[in-house]
Symmetry: D2
Subunit: 376 residues, 4 copies
């Protein structure tokens, strides 16, 4: 069993500028320049934490390349790809669409390197060079739709890689699990009428995008039933996420029987994240990862390929990511979550009725999925 | 009506060092140096945001001084005061007690400047030079007990100022309202058996300190009933906090009829705060402040004096603090919360049954307070 | 005797973005985003160091205002003023002209606040409200010519204030002393043919702008003789600067007999500055300031008004600025240069023949100035 | 031909704390916390710049290990090694000796990893696995003497590696070339009476340590003549350094005929460095490197092994280091010095008489070296 790893310094050089958290600096309006919340710090620390204790040496390094325009066009419109290029060519950079999603000078190329890195990782998995893998990319992608960037996302790397896998690698069905704290609206929208790609998003209800990710969003046309959402109340943590994994994600994967599981791997459901109110710990991520690995083993030769999405705590994201990757690579390092003792109390909180109800609604929808397993 | 303001650059120079969030850097354990979460950034931005749009010019600047050891000893033990001094004298600084509370080189003097600043502000209020006021101090204080620092707190400035007001300024009854997201355990412990100081803490249940701040902690001896806690579930926001203000804080203040209201003014219940999971917006803080001002007007000549406690979002704390201070000074600036549109959805969330239940428990306890109003 | 002080948080909010030192980030070319060398850090630390030890309390605060377009047009072309406004309105900001001079979003207004702050300070001096003063402004100005920004400079605040003093305050002759490490080319160009404004620039030879600031640049037309340059070799320090003050600056001022001395007060000739190779210490700045104060006392009722220009060492500029301002205000604080012991050796270096020659050339030109003193 | 490269994230995690440049933060004395000038930023950017354009892929990665105590004791005293360990074990870290050289929590192990990394690199060179190599280590080492840390240096990695090469790898004569802007006093002192290690230091005269590095320091006893110093005047640049290379370094190497050349590879003689006043450009470093490579080819099978020492400009050091490493690896990337056009003027400055005189003094001493070449 081999775990692949994609990383490149340019991912850290994607320049989100001097926004005050998420809003553009505007001195006249009392908005002093600061640092955009989606900056390299957390991801740089993830990479260094993978390297330092020797984990990097146990991984197969997969070199990224820039996705071609043709590869992007499998998912995005020509106008949108051109828009990002135009913004990226501006002296001071621009924005992908919603005013919160900076496109730095040269970010067009970096976003292509992110999508292309994931393509290479998926390719290695399908070719059997690796069993599973992790692409530590920036910018993120899961909010980007075919024709609009938003939520710090430029190109939807996961969607691009999924389409590549279908078009070039011969895969039929792909499941996208998205446990980023925010709704994977872009990926959902791209595959909304397509039963060959199942999207499952666990997220904080009504967080971002606003009024998005309800259980009622369940796919349309031939894709009806193939979009699943689990909108968890703010303050949900270990118990709720594990319950959702067992009640929704795993049953849905079992019925769908994918050829590949892609993971929109956001760590912003972590308990110290500024951009959401969820309460996962590194141990939660480890346990959830274990469940996905088992599902991939059962269903698709272990093919589980993750793209880094959110995760804005410079000091906690690294330990969540390390737990994830240790599990993926079936190894451990000498590094343990230094905040485990601090967060133990949160992790022990029982499931609330409200959380149970939210998950229950999604559970109902799983049965709408045509079960491939039972027909065999 | 005049609003006082205490600030000093040394508050920004309290040096919490290179911890990774809250844990001490330790390369061998995979903990790379970073920045302590309780660093000057958010507070510096608060001060600049008060200054830039002209609000500073409408305030009465109250110059801080260092609290004397005698003043500290009204609250803290001699051994503890000496402990902080010793840690502060160390070349590389030390810790106040729990390993998460750095004492920088020279922080002993700065913590005295924080406590002394609040003393001066309270004095100005009692003397009538100001009606109310805000001390933008660091380090924070509300977790510090008589003999132990914790939760980034060194000296309990609010307790020191309360005791000063009683000992030197002739006040009898003082109410401490603490809406920091974490339990005001230090202040509660200091006055736990004392009916002359009412402590009311609204906070995230079981967050920090662990297993602290339950409704069952209600005071002892003569102080029985004079400690009130409202442990709100993670994810609580505008509706829950306003409900708690109306059901618990205001009725309790009314019955207690304080001579002065001190406010442990943490902004870490804000929706982007990394250290808690609550969901208040700048508008929430504004509305809560309005309620406290009205209570102070009714009960104690408007005497409402706030000490800055937590608030760890560099990009959102400033707008919460500005809303607070605009309300306090009965004025407005041209600056509005730039994230208001983003957080509108959160703010509109209705009260959940779980929140209602938590607040209901605290409401029951209000009647234990001997009512001074009805006897008059 | 009263010393005026101009400061505003917006000066710190002038946003120079994520350049790598001075060049725009460009990942494709291997230029990773970083921080522009002209960022708020050094100036913020200057202001806090003026505030903390009580010096701020001894100064008269002069509130800045935005210079009007009419005031700017006394110096700059309409096209250039419009250019800065246009760049400032761009989403991600733009550049003032040379590609190294970022115009942040909103920097047009801030640059007007800098020029207007200096106008107010000069006005207070001429009205006698203050004797001398210091405007701690950003962005800097001395490289900006009538129609081009460069070297991080947008509007030439000193030139604008000088013209204001002549047009509105009735002053006839103004001397501009520029001891920033770089040539005050903008100010020189603006007044090159004007004998009513004497410009004297001490700077590192051939540093910035390239091939600018030679002794041969001596004014033209009626202004012939009224531009003086002392291009000092790299590595020049205390001895050279003091020699230049005594041999060139003071004699020239004596002959010119100005009604006001404006100082382009750059601290980038300091020994730790990254942007030049000179070797001044805080003690050097103190001594040079003393000489200028004495000249102002003798010649123009003490009217010496300084605008902050360069100075890029966050850890040394503050002590140079404090020494300057202590001298200006004829006071001292308890703060001394903590690096004095480290830099003592540099400060003691004797004048080299090369430095002596460079200064000697400039000395020759002083006599070209029509002496007003001897004619009286 | 293969070039080795040593790097480890722990090098970036050596924690120099919150000093204001170089002095310990001390709020009471007006010294606000900031960042120590010897922080990871410049080195992190060097590593990323080596990685991003593909150069990393052309190098042979040599994994570092921690030097053993026995290996350190070849150079340092037992008391000093223990001192660093003790300081490193302190909660908030300590200092290596002079008050400017922070020992972070755990830095003892990191300093051992630096020395051990260089040992491994030298070993690979002697074994012929690589021809030459570069160890991008922190903390630096060249100021550390047998029993005292200073100038940000803990263990003298170069001295440890040299002694290892003699003791374990069978090398007889080792030359240490030190072009860091500061005097390589520690290395010089360690080998001062030893003719088997030639030390040659090019540096800014009387910079750091004060009153150290004069030409009169020329070795003692059997080592007489085997310590060479070229103290260059402040402001020296391309012409002076190249002249010194040709007049002193190369002739001395030729006479000494080393089995290995170790390079104390400081980039703080770069023209934007805050800690010195020299004026080298990336092109200067490239040309100087070429000369050393040629010497190594002629004299010792190309064995040139470099340890990173100073270099404090986050935005210029990377391009100097890239030029160095491209030359070492006999390759180029697509990245060019983005500041080349800005610094062209400096680089063109001719040799001054003062520089010539300084170099001339050192040239005289070269003939004191017993020439091995002519005897063969
Ligand atoms: Zn997210
Ligand atoms: Zn708190
Ligand atoms: Zn300058
Ligand atoms: Zn050095």
């Amino acid at each position: 069993m081999t775990t692949g790893y994609v990383f490149h310094p340019e991912y850290l050089w994607h320049d989100t500028g001097t926004s005050a958290g998420v809003v553009l600096a505007n001195p006249a309006a009392g908005i002093a320049p600061a640092v955009h919340i989606e900056n390299p710090e957390a991801k740089r620390r993830v990479h260094e934490l993978i390297h330092a204790p020797g984990l990097l040496g146990e991984l197969m390094i997969i070199e990224p390349r820039r996705a071609t325009v043709a590869e992007l066009l499998r998912v995005h419109t020509e106008a949108y790809v051109q828009h990002i290029k135009t913004q990226s060519d501006l002296h001071g950079g621009g924005d992908a669409g919603d005013g919160y999603s900076p496109v730095g000078h040269g970010s067009y190329d970096i976003a292509r390197l992110a999508a292309g890195g994931l393509i290479e990782l998926v390719t290695a998995a399908v070719h059997g060079d690796i069993t599973n893998g992790y692409a530590l990319v920036r910018p993120p992608g899961h909010h980007a739709t075919a024709d609009a960037g938003m939520g710090f996302c430029l190109f939807n790397s996961i969607a691009v890689a999924a389409r590549h896998a279908q078009a070039e690698l011969g895969l039929a069905r792909i499941a996208v699990v998205d446990w980023d704290a925010h709704h994977g609206n872009g990926t959902q929208a791209i595959f909304y009428d397509d039963p060959s790609v199942l999207t499952i998003s666990l997220h904080q209800a009504n967080c971002f995008p606003p009024d998005s990710g309800w259980t009622t969003e369940n796919g349309v046309g031939e894709g009806a039933g193939y979009a699943l959402n689990v909108p968890l109340p703010p303050g949900s943590g270990h118990a709720a996420y594990l319950h959702a994994m067992h009640q929704v994600v795993l049953p849905a994967l079992n019925r769908f029987a994918p050829d590949l599981i892609l993971l929109a791997n956001g760590f912003d459901a972590g308990v110290f994240d500024p951009m959401a109110r969820q309460m996962l710990t590194a141990a939660s991520y480890r346990e959830m990862t274990r469940l996905l690995i088992d599902a991939a083993d059962r269903l698709c030769h272990g093919r589980l390929v993750a793209a880094h999405e959110g995760g804005y705590s410079p000091f906690y994201t690294p330990y969540c990511a390390l737990a994830f990757l240790e599990e993926l690579a079936a190894t451990t390092t000498h590094v343990t979550d230094p905040l485990a003792v601090v967060v133990a109390g949160y992790a022990a909180e029982p499931l609330t009725p409200q959380q149970q109800a939210a998950i229950g609604e999604a559970t109902q929808l799983v049965s709408r999925l045509h079960s491939r397993v039972t027909t065999s």
